[in-house]
């Protein structure tokens, strides 16, 4: 099922002591989700991603804009008629019903010619349970299950009625680290197996990056960037996206373009042809640093951490935003003990330049690097 958002906006108004306070949770949301994809809605908490999800489910009604499933306008279709499957953050399993009864519950609500016999309900529920590999637990109560198992029951319940869209709200946040890894693969497998268009919400970029076909990065109700995870990582649309994606986070410097060259502080880093003279933000990914005694970026050395595969170097720089920069170097890169200064040269494709005013990423003609 293709899903289309057209200028979708949601404004919450709250009356407090007679004063109306408005919060724009989702702001002119427009994009299209192709059929059968797994989409991650990603953003810091409060960015409106859950609201966006529930605009799709129908639990929220948009203030303006339209939403389409395929060619069908769903904007005014109430939640119960939308035929969406939702997995809630706390799973929302009925505590007094067994696993199988939980999964059968949606089938019992089917109406008209969709109505099926109790036997068929049972066999369909069993099939759904099998799909998520909990068929051996069907007579247990939710509280007798582990978090991961509850999560699977919730997915089975959402899938059993063959929804047009599957929506997952922070599906992994209640699981411990090990289960999280396993479950996200599971979600991927189930989604590919059923081919149902799936949208999930998360604040964990790694989660979104690892399994999504596309990610949608949001902030303050606005879409910042949409695209394949790796592409978004490599070509962040603006400073926010660059800062939000990647662990350890990107290092941000105050820089400037002068005469076609990029300066970080007073350090003349490299040529950036095609950009006019201006103040900029410079973001450098931790893996973008090369230890180089002749390197243009001169930093004060702070500390060193061995992290097995990598070495992490902490250093300071006058033009740096924040306390210290973190550079990830291959193990074996030698730093002289007791050094007070480290110099780096940079990998240009790991360096992003953003307009100081608009924070939008600026492209220059790469390849023209060199001192």
């Amino acid at each position: 099922m293709r899903i289309l958002f057209d200028e979708l906006t949601k404004v919450f108004t709250d009356k407090k002591r007679g004063k109306k306070e408005s919060v724009v949770a989702v702001d002119h949301f427009s994009f299209e989700i192709p059929d059968g994809q797994l989409i991650g809605l990603l953003g810091p908490s409060g960015c409106g991603k859950s609201t966006a999800l529930h605009l799709i489910s129908g639990l929220h009604t948009p203030t303006s804009g339209r939403i389409y499933f395929g060619d069908e306008d769903m904007t005014d279709v109430p939640v119960e008629k939308r035929e969406v499957g939702v997995v809630f953050q706390n799973y929302a399993l009925y505590p007094h019903l067994s696993v199988l009864e939980n999964i059968m519950f949606p089938l019992d609500n089917l109406e008209g010619n969709k109505r099926i016999s109790p036997n068929e309900m049972r066999s369909r529920a069993r099939a759904a349970a099998k799909l998520v590999q909990i068929d051996e637990l069907e007579s247990r109560r939710p509280k007798e299950l582990s978090g991961g198992q509850q999560q699977r029951v919730a997915i089975a319940r959402a899938l059993v009625k063959q929804p047009r869209v599957l929506l997952l709200d922070e599906p992994l946040s209640n699981l411990d680290a090990r289960l999280r890894l396993q479950t996200r693969e599971e979600i991927r497998r189930i989604q590919k197996g059923t081919g149902v268009t799936t949208i999930f919400v998360t604040h964990d970029q790694e989660e979104a990056m690892s399994i999504s076909d596309q990610i949608v990065v949001m902030q303050s109700g606005r879409v910042q960037q949409i695209g394949k995870p790796q592409w978004v990582y490599d070509f962040p649309a603006n400073l926010f996206v660059a800062k939000f994606l990647g662990t350890p986070p990107i290092n941000v410097f105050r820089g400037s373009i002068r005469g076609g060259r990029l300066f970080i502080g007073k350090d003349d880093v490299f040529a950036a042809p095609g950009l006019s003279d201006q103040e900029v933000w410079v973001g450098i990914r931790p893996e973008g640093f090369i230890l180089d005694e002749q390197g243009p970026l001169r930093c004060t050395f702070q500390s060193l951490e061995m992290m097995g595969r990598d070495i992490s170097v902490m250093a300071g720089h006058v033009a740096l935003e924040g306390e210290r920069l973190q550079a990830l170097l291959e193990a074996g890169s030698g730093i002289p003990a007791g050094a007070a200064q480290v110099n780096f040269s940079l990998k240009p494709d790991k360096v992003h330049v953003f307009s100081r005013d608009t924070q939008v990423r600026l492209d220059w003609q790469k390849g023209g690097m060199g001192k």
Partner: protein, 297 residues
């Protein structure tokens, strides 16, 4: 979420609103109207004027004055005694481990029993008949006092039984509420006090009492309200003709005016009920004012 207006909500509320409207809201308005309709005739449902005459009749009626006197005596004795006794028993209960649960349950038994039925037993225990002086008199006799008829005898004796039975009836609720309050005081305070070597009596007055003071206050307020509405206990002990027994209460007066040996005057009943309501309201407000100074929330 789900902010859609769902007018069906009113449909779900409808039965409750119907019942409350007919049997609570309407009567509440009506009772004030009744109380000002003078010379209301039940049979013809007519009245001959509007004014304060019902109130002045009730306020001059010796039966009503007797009922007010009885009620006030009952309130003044039973509220402090039952609250104090309940506090004593609850503190005792919280200090023991063995049989605590059994006693707690036992003490609650009177709450579920029929006031009329047990009142009858009390009546028999205190009654002096030609055949027997009754058990209460037997016990008094051990201390050398003469037999008294507590049910048909002197006023103070009857009042004593009424107070005694009232205390017996209200104790279960108070003990239950106080023991729950005591159990909810954080152990940490007691441990801290123990470490400081605080004497037990000081722990009680400086920690326990302030911590449960909202509960005690709640019990005093509900105790006042409850005692002002006393009626069934008196009926159980002295029969339905409370005026004859000089043991009527304000609520009893209301019901007698409404229906009973002297009944059929809803206007007088309304006036009396509103006077009662005003008394209770005043006392509750005074209680609230006092509590502001003494209760630690």
């Amino acid at each position: 979420m789900m902010e859609r207006n769902n007018p069906k909500g009113w449909l779900y509320l409808l039965p409750a609103m119907l019942f409350l409207g007919v049997f609570m809201v309407y009567p509440l308005i009506d009772v004030f109207i009744y109380s000002f309709e003078q010379g209301f005739n039940f049979a013809s449902q007519s009245y001959d004027g509007v004014g304060m005459r019902n109130y002045s009749f009730v306020l001059r009626d010796p039966y009503f004055l007797q009922a007010v006197k009885n009620t006030f005596i009952l309130v003044i004795f039973t509220v402090p005694i039952s609250t104090g006794l309940a506090l004593l028993i609850s503190v005792g209960l919280s200090s023991i481990k063995a049989v605590r649960h059994l006693y707690q349950t036992l003490y609650f038994l009177p709450y579920v029993t029929n006031t009329l039925a047990v009142g009858l037993v009390f009546m028999i225990l205190f009654k002096k008949t030609p055949y027997t002086d009754g058990l209460a008199n037997l016990i008094i006799g051990w201390f050398g006092a003469g037999p008294v008829d507590f049910i048909d005898g002197p006023y103070w004796a009857k009042m004593f039984v009424l107070c005694f039975y009232t205390v017996w009836v209200v104790m279960p609720f108070k003990i239950l509420i106080l023991t729950s309050a005591l159990a909810s005081v954080d152990e940490g305070y007691y441990k801290a006090a123990q470490v400081d070597g605080t004497r037990k009596i000081r722990v009680f007055t400086r920690i326990t009492l302030p911590m449960i003071s909202p509960t005690i206050f709640y019990l005093i307020i509900t105790g006042f309200i409850g005692a002002f509405k006393a009626y069934s206990d008196a009926v159980a002990l002295f029969g339905t003709d409370l005026n004859a027994a000089e043991m009527n209460t304000i609520v009893g007066y209301v019901y007698d005016m409404l229906y009973g040996s002297s009944g059929g005057y809803p206007s007088y009943a309304s006036a009396a009920a509103i006077i009662l309501f005003l008394i209770v309201l005043t006392i509750t407000c005074i209680n609230l004012l006092i509590s502001k100074k003494h209760v630690h929330y």
